[in-house]
């Protein structure tokens, strides 16, 4: 069984480039618009979509993503909507969809049932910001069974042993947290990011995505020079919030370096 995310990252590497991974929350500003925005993201050069599940207590997220996900919840977002969104996106574009979720919604849905339904909807796997490999036995078993990717986080503060564990237990890529902090734009990519990726290489990592605080084309290029993927989130959410789907399309095309591909009706 091959990881679809790893296959995508390898294909990018064969083209002599690194991947652009774009985050957007499902259900914001509405379920339909979040689906259209994710599709626009892919059509404008994102290689992988990170689809965020709105959660009441998002401790890794800064204000932009907090406000968007709280809006989605206030608008009545339900977990089942995430599966229909994944299905709707994968029917129209082929980029792998990783769902980013805090752990309690998965626990309440049932870890095995969540994995089965995500796989059935065409999802590629999960990014779990508050589930460390040490606590993840049930998810590791379920993701193995359903051939799903599981992306654990690595931080600048992680010990070599913990990095080795993150590399060993992750499938798809390891999410290198660029800086000690939460999601949101920053003026510069923390120098810690490059060092962390090198330490992950020493721990055996073949695929690393770098995220947190990456928002400009220059920052994307910088990260892509040493990692397999650059993860962009808050600035895309802000674009969606301010300018709707066309703004996401335009920004994704700038970040990916691909010519804008905006449906005439949306432009």
């Amino acid at each position: 069984m091959t990881s679809r995310v790893e296959a995508t990252l390898d294909a990018c590497r064969d083209e002599g480039r690194a991947a652009l991974i774009g985050y957007l929350p499902v259900g914001f500003p509405s379920l339909d618009e979040s689906i259209e925005a994710a599709i626009a993201l892919v059509e404008n050069g994102a290689d992988i979509v990170e689809l965020g599940l709105p959660y009441s207590d998002p401790v890794m997220d800064g204000l932009v993503i907090q406000e968007a996900t709280q809006t989605a919840l206030a608008n009545g977002f339900r977990l089942k909507d995430a599966f229909s969104a994944v299905r709707a996106i994968t029917e129209r574009v082929s980029a792998p969809i990783l769902v980013m979720t805090y752990w309690n919604p998965v626990v309440q849905y049932g870890v095995e049932r969540f994995a089965a339904d995500l796989a059935a909807a065409g999802g590629a796997g999960l990014i779990t910001p508050d589930l460390i490999p040490d606590e993840a036995a049930e998810w590791i078993a379920a993701s193995d069974k359903h051939d799903l990717d599981r992306v654990f986080l690595a931080a600048p503060s992680s010990t070599p042993q913990r990095l080795a564990t993150a590399v060993e237990r992750s499938r798809g890529f390891v999410y290198a947290v660029s800086t000690m902090g939460i999601t949101g734009e920053r003026a510069d990519v923390d120098a810690a990011a490059h060092g962390l990726v090198e330490r992950l290489r020493e721990a055996g990592a073949q695929h690393v995505g770098v995220g947190i605080g990456i928002s400009t084309s220059d920052q994307v290029r910088e990260v892509q020079s040493y990692a397999e993927g650059a993860i962009v989130g808050s600035v895309l959410v802000k674009a969606l919030s301010d300018g709707g789907v066309p703004a996401v399309a335009a920004l994704a095309s700038r970040l990916s370096g691909q010519r804008a591909n905006v449906e005439p009706g949306l432009a």
């Binding site: 009441s56 207590d57 309690n104 460390i132 040490d134 986080l153 503060s157 902090g181």
Partner: protein, 400 residues
């Protein structure tokens, strides 16, 4: 022995469900705490502070005029309200601040609901010369304005949290976000027995002095162990503090009183164990109030300190193994007990504590005059005068 359980797991509860960025700090803290725990000089320093600063040991007060309304049982109050800063919270705060100093942290952050933990943390920061930032839900900064002023007077920065439900749970989220970004120089001085390991274990240890003193004091006063030990439960720190010394006394019943708010058959309550189910919140697996999708439900209680949709994992475990039981007490029942203790004994308790006082009256009626009921009087009511004044219509309208 039940007393020897030290986490990270309490049965199926507890653990560390936090971002990887915090794991190094939690590991460092767990190691440092274990070293402190076995270090006689640390224990001596903390004991000395408790004797000369906190005011320990705290008194036991028997309250017969109050108990006349509760089946004439013998009701004994463990007077944590007489501690410096006015509640049990100082026990944990001084302990953690000493640990933080030992690992070289120069900045303390804390969450607070009622403001008692925030005041205690600001106090320790002033005492030890540390920087201090307290996160407090905006709803709570309004209903506990006096404590906000106290914290600021003590030199702390108070940050009103405007996200989510703007109460204690959101203050914890904001403190966790701060900690993720500033973990190098900052200690998160968590105020209850919740959160990721080692907090439930370490905070319990710093509060278990309450039960250890009380067990001796009750034996001395009555010649026997109490029939029941009662305490209010929000996150559960004062309850675990007084329960712990009795965990392995099988004849002593342990009863925690949760906030039923406007009633457990309404959406407005904070009765986490009574009405919730296990889930993951703020770094640990425990009972919590949540909807079908695992989204945390906003809690309600007239007392800011119990207005929390989670509870410490050790309580969840004690509940599941049947060692402790947990009952709901409404806003109105708590307020009636608050006024009754004030008028019969001249002691104004915190509204949080009043939940346990109502519980003690219930227990007294059930157990009768021969019974001995020990209650943790966890805090004093000065901070609650705005709420109590409005509730009982105590202010002259021309003035207020």
């Amino acid at each position: 022995m039940l007393r020897d359980v030290q986490g990270p797991y309490y049965g199926e509860f507890g653990g560390r469900f936090v971002p990887e960025s915090l794991i190094a700090a939690l590991d460092e803290l767990a190691l440092a705490y274990d070293q402190c725990k076995s270090d006689p000089s640390f224990q001596a320093e903390l004991s000395d502070l408790h004797r000369t600063y906190t005011g320990r040991p705290s008194l036991i007060t028997e309250v017969p005029r109050f108990a006349a309304h509760g089946g004439n049982a013998r009701i004994l109050l463990k007077r944590e309200d007489l501690n410096h800063t006015g509640s049990h919270k100082i026990n944990n705060v001084l302990g953690q601040a000493l640990v933080a100093k030992r690992i070289g942290k120069t900045r303390l952050i804390a969450e607070t609901g009622a403001g008692q933990h925030g005041v205690a943390t600001a106090t320790a920061a002033a005492l030890f010369g540390l920087e201090c930032v307290v996160y407090m839900g905006q709803v709570d900064t309004e209903r506990q304005a006096l404590n906000v002023a106290r914290m600021r007077l003590l030199g702390a920065e108070v940050v009103p949290v405007t996200t989510g439900s703007r109460t204690l749970k959101d203050a914890i989220n904001e403190a966790l976000r701060d900690w993720v970004a500033n973990v190098d120089n900052t200690h998160y001085l968590l105020g209850t027995v919740a959160g990721p390991h080692p907090f439930p274990y370490m905070v319990r240890d710093f509060h278990k002095i309450i039960g250890e003193e009380a067990r001796e004091q009750v034996l001395e006063l009555t010649g026997r162990l109490p029939d029941v030990v009662a305490a209010c439960v929000g996150g559960g720190s004062n309850a675990i503090g007084i329960f712990h010394a009795f965990l392995d006394d099988p004849d002593v019943a342990l009863v925690g009183f949760e906030a039923a708010g406007k009633g457990i058959n309404t959406p407005e309550h904070a009765a986490t164990i009574t009405m919730g189910r296990p889930g993951v919140l703020h770094g640990a697996r425990s009972y919590m109030l949540q909807n079908e999708d695992g989204q945390t439900i906003e809690s309600h209680s007239i007392s800011a300190g119990l207005d929390y949709p989670g509870v410490g994992p050790e309580h969840s475990w004690l509940h599941d193994i049947g060692r402790a039981s947990y009952r709901p007490v409404t806003d109105d029942e708590a307020m009636a007990a608050l006024r009754l203790l004030s008028r019969t004994e001249g002691i104004i308790p915190a509204i949080e504590t009043a939940h346990a006082l109502h519980g003690a009256l219930e227990l007294g009626k059930e157990l009768g005059p021969e019974s001995v009921i020990l209650v943790n009087l966890s805090g004093r009511g000065d901070k609650d005068m705005e709420t109590a004044g409005a509730y009982f219509d105590l202010f002259d309208r021309s003035v207020k």
